[in-house]
Amino acid sequence: MDKMEGSFAVEDMQNVQINIGAIVKEVEEWDQPMGPFPYPSIATLRDWDFKIMNRYKVFYSPICDRCTLCTYGPCDLTGNKRGACGIDQAAQQGRIVLIAVLMGCTAHAAHGRHLYHWCLDKFGDLPFKMGDEILVDAPLTRTIAGIKPKTLKDFGPVLGYVEEQVSQLLACTHTGQEGSYLDFESKALHAGMLDSLGKEVSDLIQIVAYDMPRGDEDAPLVECGMGTLDKNKAILITYGHNLAGSAEAMFYTEDNNLWDKVDIGGVCCTAIDNTRICEGIGHPDKEFNDKYRMVGAKAKIAGAIGWWRKMVRGDCMDCIMVDEQCVWTDAIVDAEKYKVPLIATNEKIMLGLPDRTNDPVDEIVDDLVNFRMPGVVVLDPVKAGEVGVKTAIAVKPKRAEIREADPFLSEEDFKKYAESCTYCHSCQFVCPPHIKIGDVVRAAAEGNYEPLSTTYEICVGCRRCEQVCPQDIPILSLYAYANRDYIRNQKFKMRAGRGPVKDTEIRRVGAPLVLGTIPGVIAIIGCGNYPNGTKECYDIAREFVDRGFIVAATGCMAMDMSLYTDAEGKTIWEQFPGGFDGRNICNIGSCVANAHLHGAGIKVATIFAGRNERANYDDIADYILSKVGACGVAWGAYSQKAASIATGFNRLGVPAVVQSHSVMYRRAFLGRTDKREDWEIIDARDGSKVYCEPAPEHMLYVAESVEECMLMMAKLCIRPSDNNSGRMIKLTHYCDISMKYFGCMPPDWPIYVRHASDLPLKWKEDMMKELESKYGWEIDWKRKAILSGPIRKSDVSFDPTNIERKIRVKK
């Protein structure tokens, strides 16, 4: 049922909270009619995908010109040639993209599947309740599956659906199956959507089971940085994305009053999830609730993935528990070298270690503490948690002894290594951020450690330099040695992940977002690895919070941006409030929590505009594409998960900007402003076709510099639905960022002008002159009005859509 924004009827809102004076009436039952596409299969939303790809051209930049997937190969596909099976280069790229997106999607969904079984085992089937302020409680699940879960068990069929679809999609990548790049991309978009659903399920399960914050803008500030790990205690590092084992280590520590003996620090998303435990509205199990209330705030954030090898060499840990995803696969090699026992706690990562799940805890601990084996597999989270804490405490003094006798790197070693550099530059040929390592090492040999300090944050810890150095210089260890003080002092605060956006927040920002007076939502996702990545995460966030955008972060970028402070020593989390609102910055949570950003978009369509979301994906995506000014950024993401995340955003109509290294993802979606016909949009009021300004211009965009990234994000928040003051605000930011970093106006600003009141006040007069003189627009100078020139006239009641069934009255 279609409604104009702002004039929706109350009956459309039965599933949300209705404020009638002081009485708050909650309508429990979800009586929304089933939409057209419950549990969509591969072909169901293909029309929507083709609409996206018709406007946003699939662009490939192959990294490899060959295919080597079957025994006919290797086939040379250079120049879009076809391989023996008939596939051309474009389709082959589409196939690789689909495989990458499926990798990401399965990583998230399998995470959810593990949590599903584990949480049902540990807690039983819990009621699914998101609290009074979140009644549209599982927006992706409702929109895609068409169900409203009531208990954790209801997520079982949803995961089953994702798993079935993934298996169908993976089958399509076999030789002799799909042959069209467009269909590969439609399938990738499908996988991206499934990824968003898998993430939502994962996070909702853990929110309920571990009582994490449900949209709490005042979630606690937690300690973040290597320096926050207390060296007077044993340090247990939990590394990965699945909190099951790590949470048990925290519970064991709490049960046994061991917090004065052990510090638990997380790396990667496990870090974020540790610090969310038991900070919600109260766990339904009262005993559990009483025991562990706020235990999450006792855990620390050791750091994001890019810091991992730096932490190991910085001697920041006594014992490691790894779970799943984003664990560097040589973790065991480092662990053995630096005498840090490692416990693998999840079937996905076992690293060739013996499975000790069924052995007594003390035997396992004894073996680890005496270095009889570098690591073990313990798949029972409770046992793994106990082994982790006990091992960390018992091994700490032993490690201290070893280090005493044989330090990781003495001053002498440092000098000897630095002096052995032959300045051959092999390292620089492989360093992703192009650090001039030869110069850095040479300076160190001359006693100047400054370059080792200034490039420390830029180094992504990949170790490729060490792999190629003919002198076997342990470059990362030189870094750790020279940055001892930095490591000790890396102490910051990060806001714990707050979870989903509340319905009340959506009600507050819905209208200004759709009209454009809040200029957009900036969704900062993934990891921040690359050139100056960590600092640039902060710069991006700061730029947009200052400008009044809604800034929402998830995953490693949230940690990375915590490492910088303003003149008063405050991190961004201390500078700004944590709501989903303009001039706020919220940390939504770990990578799986970024599903709540999709969720926020869906909720604008449902709560603000009264659209039915149930099994109605394309309608909601169409609404978001045309009306919700939002843009994602993954500034230095490395993983296939980032590929699936971005692709999932794109299918829902949210553009994303990524960093230069992300050309490795091979595919982008780019608009052509020279093709007027690509930008034809339907006016849902009467079905008439309107040529629109290209807004948003692109769907997936690689930016070369952070300046370009910021400019593009401001532009990609422009939507056809902006009213005049909204467009004026958005254009002001777009032009202002350009003046600030580019020294000139962006050349395409005129295409976004529909009416004189769209023009930024700051430059209005000059812009009108330019429109007249340079672009030949007709201006009525008396009335300060534009008479002709714009792509289309501004029309407050224009109701843009790309879907024919949304037309209300056919002309």
């Binding site: 620089q428 040929f429 190629v468 230069s660 050309v663 965009y701 070369e704 580019f742 020294g743 000139c744």
Partner: protein
Amino acid sequence: MAVDTTKNPVPFEMAQIPGPEMAKAYNTAVIGAILKKAKRPLLVVGAELFEDPVMFDKAIEIGKTGVPIAATAHSIKGFVERGYTENVTMIGLHPLTNYLRFKDWQGLDGKGQYDVVIFTGIFYKFASAMFSALKNFNRDIKRVSIDRYYHVNADMTFGNLAFNPDQYHEAVDEVIAKLKA
């Protein structure tokens, strides 16, 4: 003596080995001649120019010979600061390459597709991927690199001169001289 730009034809990121078709390193005279002969050349410069500002002046010299310049990332700022924006257009490398790969694109000036693109000052991995897009999907455009790196996906490139800035600048000067001759 001319700089030998044919030495060190090793991908600057060593593992960038795309396949059977890899760039050939040419000397400056040949590259200069190709640029001179081009009917619709386009010089594409990126943000790495800020790390080697003298390259802005050299780009401007090329611009003054009539070769239009696409300033990617925020590199336009360098031209604005030098007061030269005559035939310089600000555009992202990604959309630019997207336009370049379509045969029906009419160019930044609306006068037709380009026949030679010349890259310099662009982050290696990004430039390499964009060369790859053209190599695979629009082979009508000749891909030339005059950057300090051996660019594996170009048609014509220098060998690596990344560790020898003086020689690199000299090589660019030689190309410019040839272009002006």
